[in-house]
C-alpha cells in the first residue's frame, strides 16, 4: 500500500517536471495547435497578439506549479463560473498545465483523504505553490462561523498562506468581503487583504480577481500569466490586474457614444431602451466599475448585461451590496443627465466624474457602516 503511494507520488513529480509544450506535444498537439493555443491565451490575458511568440517561448519551458484552492464563505458561483469553460477548451488546457492538488468541489477525494492531499501538497511544495481562495473569511468570535473538517477557515487560510509563493483571491468575497460582509456582517467577514493588513495571516504577494462571479477567462488568464511569466501581473491600488481591471465598463461600453450624446433610456421599455441607448439613468454602475465584461463578455463571448438591456450592478467593486439600489442612477440623475442631454459631450463626462466621486463616497459610508456582530448580540436578538 505504502509503496503504491510512493510510486504514485513519484509519477506526480515526473509529470510536473514535464514542460507545458512537452505535455501538449505528448497529447498530439502540433506546432500550429500550440500557436493557436498561445494566440488564444494572449487574447485571454488581454496582451497584444504580437506577444503570442513570447508566450510560446515561456510556456515551452514552464513546468506545472502546484495549486491549492481553498473555499470559505462562498456560494460556489466562482467555481461554477470557472467550470463554464467546458472541456476541452483553451482554458481547460491551461488547467492541464497546472497541478490542481486541492479543490474541495472539483476533487474526487473526500473526507480525510482530501484534507491529506492538501496537507501533502503544502508540505511537498512549501514556498512554491499557488494559493487560490474564494469566499470571505469570518473573523468574528475567532472564526467559529465556518469550519472545514473541524478547522476554522481563518486557521486553514493562515496555514495555507504560510507556504504560498503567491495568493490569488478569486471573486468579490475573498477580494473585498462581498455579500457575507454586507451590513450588518454577522460573521465579521473579511477579505484576504483585510486579514493581511491586520496581521492575522502572513503577507504574501496578492492578486485580487473580484466579480460576483469573475469572468472565467479572467480567472484562467491571470493564472496563465503567472504560469507563463512566473511573475505577478501589474496591479492597481486594490491589487487588481490592470490588464483586466484597467478600464471601467463605461470606458469600453459600445453604448458609450450614446452617453456622450446624452441619449438615455428612462425606463426599461421606452423608445430609448429599444434603440439601445445608454442605461446610466436606470442605475448602470458602468462608470464606477472596473472590469472586462464589455470586451471579454460572458458565456463564451456571447453577451454581457448591458448588451442584454440591463445596467451593470458593479459586482466587482468593494461594498457593492451596500452601495444603494441597483436601479437608482449613480449621481443626482435628473439635473445632471438632463443638462447632459442639452449640452452634450462635455457635461456628460462631468456628470460621470461627479457620479464616480459620489459613488465612492457612498461606498466609503457603507464600509464604515459595517459593524462586527458578536454572538452575544445575536442572542440578544
Amino acid at each position: 500500500m505504502k509503496s503504491d503511494r510512493e510510486k504514485e507520488s513519484g509519477a506526480i513529480v515526473s509529470q510536473r517536471e514535464e514542460t507545458v509544450l512537452q505535455r501538449l506535444r505528448r497529447q498530439g498537439i502540433s506546432r500550429r495547435g500550440f500557436l493557436k493555443f498561445c494566440t488564444a491565451t494572449a487574447s485571454m490575458m488581454a496582451l497584444p497578439p504580437t506577444m503570442a511568440p513570447a508566450i510560446a517561448a515561456a510556456l515551452g519551458s514552464a513546468t506545472r506549479p502546484s495549486v491549492i484552492w481553498l473555499s470559505f464563505q462562498e456560494c460556489t458561483g466562482c467555481t461554477e463560473s470557472l467550470t463554464r469553460s467546458h472541456l476541452p477548451t483553451v482554458e481547460s488546457l491551461i488547467f492541464d498545465a497546472i497541478s490542481l492538488d486541492y479543490h474541495h468541489t472539483l476533487q474526487a477525494a473526500s473526507g480525510e483523504a482530501a484534507e491529506r492531499a492538501r496537507e501533502e501538497a503544502m508540505a511537498r511544495y512549501a514556498g512554491e505553490y499557488l494559493l487560490l481562495v474564494d469566499g470571505s473569511i469570518p473573523y468574528g468570535d475567532e472564526g467559529i462561523y465556518s469550519t472545514i473538517a473541524g478547522v476554522s477557515n481563518l486557521e486553514m487560510l493562515r496555514q495555507g498562506v504560510e507556504g504560498a509563493a503567491a495568493v490569488i483571491a478569486i471573486g468579490t468575497c475573498s477580494s473585498f468581503g462581498g455579500l457575507p460582509m454586507a451590513s450588518p456582517n454577522p460573521t465579521g467577514a473579511m477579505s484576504v487583504n483585510d486579514l493581511m493588513q491586520r496581521g492575522a495571516i502572513q503577507r504574501r504577494p496578492l492578486i485580487n480577481i473580484p466579480g460576483c462571479p469573475p469572468i472565467p477567462a479572467v480567472i484562467t488568464g491571470v493564472i496563465a500569466h503567472y504560469l507563463t511569466f512566473g511573475t505577478i501581473p501589474q496591479l492597481d491600488a486594490l491589487h487588481r490586474p490592470l490588464s483586466f481591471y484597467g478600464d471601467t465598463i463605461h470606458d469600453r461600453c459600445y453604448r458609450r457614444t450614446y452617453y456622450d450624446q446624452g441619449k438615455f433610456a428612462d425606463t426599461f421599455d421606452d423608445e430609448g431602451a429599444r434603440l439601445g441607448w445608454c442605461l446610466y439613468k436606470l442605475g448602470c454602475r458602468g462608470p464606477t466599475t472596473y472590469n472586462s465584461c464589455a470586451t471579454l463578455k460572458w458565456n463564451g463571448g456571447t453577451s454581457f448585461p448591458i448588451q442584454s438591456g440591463h445596467g451593470c450592478i458593479g459586482c466587482s467593486e468593494p461594498g457593492f451590496w451596500d452601495a444603494g439600489s441597483f436601479y437608482e442612477a449613480l449621481s443626482m440623475p435628473t439635473a445632471a443627465a438632463t443638462t447632459a442631454t442639452r449640452a452634450g459631450v462635455g457635461v456628460g463626462v462631468a456628470a460621470g466624474a461627479l457620479s464616480a466621486w459620489q459613488n465612492l463616497h457612498q461606498r466609503n459610508g457603507a464600509r464604515t457602516g459595517h459593524q462586527e456582530v458578536k454572538l452575544d448580540d445575536l442572542e440578544r436578538g
Binding site: I29, T39, A40, S43, P49, A52, A294, T295
Partner: protein, 143 residues
C-alpha cells in the same frame, strides 16, 4: 400570440458616432500595412479586445469584403483564415473543439503565421520520409 406581436426591434445606430470605432480600426489596419511594406513586419489586431457592437462587427466584415483565398484548418478545433478584399489583410477566426470562438484576429501579413510550415517541421518531414523509404526497402511494405 406569435413573436411578431412583441414590440421589440433590433438596434439602430446613428451613423456618425456608430462609425467612429470602425474608422479607427481601418486607420490601424492602414498603419500596419504601411509597416509591413516598409519593414516586412507582420501586424495583428485582436478583434475581441476592440469594443465593437455586433452591428459594427458585421459592418466591418462587409467593408473589408471577401478576397480570393480562404483556408480551413483542423487543429484543436476548427480555424478559418480568409483573405479580405484587401490583399495582405486576413480575417482569422479560431474555434475550440465545441465550435466556440477563442480568438478572432485581423492579421496583416503576406500569409498568416498559422499557415506557414517552419524549418523544424521540414526536418521532421524528411526524417519521416526516410523512415518510409527504409521501411519499404527492409520490410517490403509501408507501416
Amino acid at each position: 400570440m406569435g413573436l411578431d406581436t412583441i414590440p421589440i426591434r433590433s438596434e439602430v445606430m446613428s451613423p456618425p458616432f456608430e462609425q467612429q470605432g470602425i474608422v479607427a480600426l481601418l486607420q490601424e489596419i492602414s498603419q500596419l500595412l504601411r509597416q509591413l511594406a516598409l519593414s516586412d513586419e507582420n501586424g495583428v489586431i485582436d478583434l475581441r479586445r476592440s469594443p465593437l457592437s455586433p452591428a459594427q462587427r458585421e459592418a466591418l466584415l462587409t467593408l473589408l469584403g471577401q478576397g480570393e483565398v480562404s483556408a480551413e484548418l483542423t487543429v484543436m478545433g476548427r480555424s478559418r483564415v480568409e483573405e479580405t478584399a484587401l490583399a495582405g489583410v486576413w480575417w482569422v477566426t479560431h474555434y475550440n473543439e465545441e465550435g466556440v470562438v477563442v480568438a478572432e484576429l485581423l492579421e496583416i501579413a503576406p500569409i498568416p503565421q498559422i499557415l506557414l510550415s517552419v524549418e523544424d517541421e521540414l526536418g521532421e518531414s524528411q526524417d519521416r520520409l526516410q523512415q518510409m523509404i527504409d521501411g519499404i526497402i527492409n520490410g517490403g511494405s509501408v507501416k
